[in-house]
């Protein structure tokens, strides 16, 4: 059956279930079950979408049956379809993890609706083909994230939430003005149409200026240098499942938006705009590495690794060749999965030890061996040890870098893997090896086991993602093809 609205399902289904949940505020069980059903249905829809895109190519629907540049067009190419699927998939596991860790109070106060609304916004941002509509979807997931970050109202949460919201309000205002500038010059909002019109006028200087503004706007969300400073503090404040969602998803939307705009329409002055992106991406890696080593706090170490990964992905994007782009797509999805896995795992460590300070831990391998081994696998995956998930993406990215003659950059990326490894292995050595430093607080074995389940599932998923690369490569190359050849996207939207 040919469903022209299929690509909307991963956006609408979570939204619908979130609405439903508003009617059952106090029933925790209903909240949990309905959330899982909603996510499962969304997952089915998104997998179906991926299959459809694979067979039929880019899916588009212009809402309200209006012709393309005038109505809002939603566009699902392989890149966005994969991101949408990954988003839903890892949310599913994090939600399962939440059951035992978030606490009933939060569950009764819109925790699950907020997650579903956030997924709606994120998937919408991944799918939309309209630049202003993207702003709206940004606002949807942002406001849901405000709710999630502050929910519970703990002292530290409140302190960091206010900073988080402030930074995002500023970046939203900048987003609006960037759209306004762009509209002034090219007079349109549909991204495919923008691409065509910029090509028509051959990207004059003013468009490059606007391109940089977009980079800054999305860079604030995506946490690139020097716009990432707000992130480590804010992300560390909410409970672990929220942190996991944020860490795995939110910065990636910024990265996605940069990738989309920098491969679809700001592509006629690459020597300037992409060089700028390249330099920023490398500085981002350096800044992330400094942070990842500076802290002895579990959360901070992994949080700074988010920033490093953002730099690595954007470095791949900046190459503007197929190899680099394939690598970036592969690595982006890897990073979403592995961050979810790692945050969940450190969440369990924090649950067991009652602290997130590495210096107060030790000898866990004696009591929690499986946790240790799964953590170690995830850590190696993050560092890009083959055949785990982080390897292939990084390989393609550095290969793309070398092909584009960015030798130093590629070597910096290789070296950064070492720093990543050091930062996460430190956690292993301090928390799992050595002698227990203090008696562990009493924890519930059942809770521990229930928390381990989604963690194990996520780690296994990342392993499969790395080992099963051969099955995934066709999807990656489809995604990269659209990114390296914008005309595919433009034609799909405008030539009906």
């Amino acid at each position: 059956m040919n469903m022209i609205n299929l690509l909307l399902f991963p956006i609408i289904i979570p939204f619908f279930f979130a609405m439903v949940l508003l009617f059952f505020k106090e029933q925790v069980v209903v909240q949990r079950v309905v959330t899982l059903i909603g996510l499962a249905l969304s997952l089915v829809a998104s997998c179906w979408l991926v299959a459809t895109v694979k067979v039929e190519g880019i899916q588009t629907v212009t809402l309200g049956s209006w012709p393309a540049p005038f109505g809002i067009t939603m566009v699902s190419d392989m890149f966005s379809a994969l991101l949408v699927t990954t988003t839903i998939l890892l949310t599913f596991f994090i939600v399962v993890y939440s059951f035992k860790s978030i606490g009933v109070e939060r569950e009764k106060f819109f925790y699950y609706p907020a997650i579903l609304f956030m997924i709606t916004g994120i998937n919408g941002a991944f799918t939309t083909g309209d630049i202003f509509n993207m702003f709206v979807f940004f606002e949807v997931f942002l406001i849901a994230s405000y709710l999630l970050i502050v929910l519970g109202g703990e002292k530290r949460q409140l302190r960091e939430s206010i900073k988080y919201i402030l930074v995002n309000v500023i970046s939203s205002a900048l987003f609006v003005i960037a759209v306004a500038y762009l509209y002034s010059v090219v007079g349109t909002l549909s991204m495919a149409d923008i691409a065509m019109k910029i090509a028509e006028i051959n990207q004059p200087g003013i468009i490059s200026v606007i391109a940089i503004l977009f980079l800054i706007v999305f860079g604030i969300k995506g946490a690139i240098f020097p716009l990432y400073f707000w992130l480590p503090g804010s992300y560390a404040a909410p409970p672990i499942p929220v942190l996991a969602l944020f860490g795995a998803l939110l910065t990636k939307v910024g990265v996605y938006a940069i990738t989309r705009t920098y491969t679809l329409f700001f592509v006629h002055d690459i020597a300037f705009t992409h060089q700028f992106l390249l330099v920023l991406s490398l500085l981002t890696i350096v800044a992330g590495c400094i942070g990842a080593l500076a802290y002895f706090d579990l959360k901070q170490i992994i949080i700074y690794n988010i920033i490093i990964a953002v730099g690595v992905i954007l470095f791949g994007v900046a190459q503007m060749n197929t190899t680099g782009m394939e690598g970036a797509v592969y690595y982006l999805i890897h990073d979403m999965l592995i961050k979810a896995a790692l945050f969940v795992l450190i969440g369990i460590i924090i649950y067991i030890t009652g602290t997130s300070n590495l210096r107060e831990m030790g000898g866990l391998i004696k009591t929690h061996a499986s946790l240790g081994w799964f953590y170690l696998i995830a850590a190696f995956g993050l560092a890009g040890i083959p055949p785990l998930s982080g390897f292939l993406g990084k390989l393609l990215i550095i290969k793309g870098g070398f092909e584009a003659d960015h030798t130093v950059g590629s070597i910096v990326i290789l070296a950064s893997s070492l720093i990543v490894l050091l930062s996460v292995i430190r956690i292993f050595i301090y928390a799992f090896w050595g002698e227990p430093t203090q008696p562990l607080p009493v924890t519930n074995k059942g809770t521990y086991r229930a928390m381990m389940m989604p963690a194990v599932a996520l780690v296994v998923l990342t392993i499969a993602y790395g080992v099963g690369a051969e099955w995934l490569m066709p999807y990656m190359s489809d995604a990269a093809n659209v990114l390296t050849d914008p005309s595919i996207y433009i034609d799909a939207v405008l030539k009906e």
Partner: protein, 113 residues
């Protein structure tokens, strides 16, 4: 007129950023208010200020103001309203817990041990 409005937008942004950088949480919130006003006016200006009539169909009128930016602004206004409300409540809840509205006292690098 665009020149005047551009300058006014610049003034709004300057004032907004200045307030946002201040220590008082209250001023910061006021600043975000100015920021959204600036952004909304900017959309309007970028759409062009030349229309002779509101974009409402009346027989005989053809020179309408550009309706698209207006629709965008409307959306943006409503969104900023929602966000402002959340921010306000967040701010006073924070004040209730932390007993200060001095942004400098709300340091957040406890992990930097």
């Amino acid at each position: 007129m665009e020149l005047v409005l551009s300058i006014i937008i610049g003034v709004l942004f300057t004032a907004a950023v200045y307030l946002i950088l201040s220590r008082s949480l209250l001023k910061v919130i006021l600043g975000t208010g100015l920021l959204s006003h600036g952004a909304h006016l900017l959309i309007l200006t970028m759409g062009g200020l030349g229309g002779m009539a509101p974009p409402v169909l009346i027989d005989g009128v053809t020179d309408f103001a550009d309706p698209l930016p207006q629709a965008l602004i409307l959306t943006a206004i409503v969104i900023s309203f929602g966000v402002t409300a959340v921010m306000l409540v967040m701010a006073y809840r924070m004040y209730a817990v932390h007993k200060t509205d001095n942004m400098n006292e709300l340091r957040g690098n406890d992990e930097h041990d």
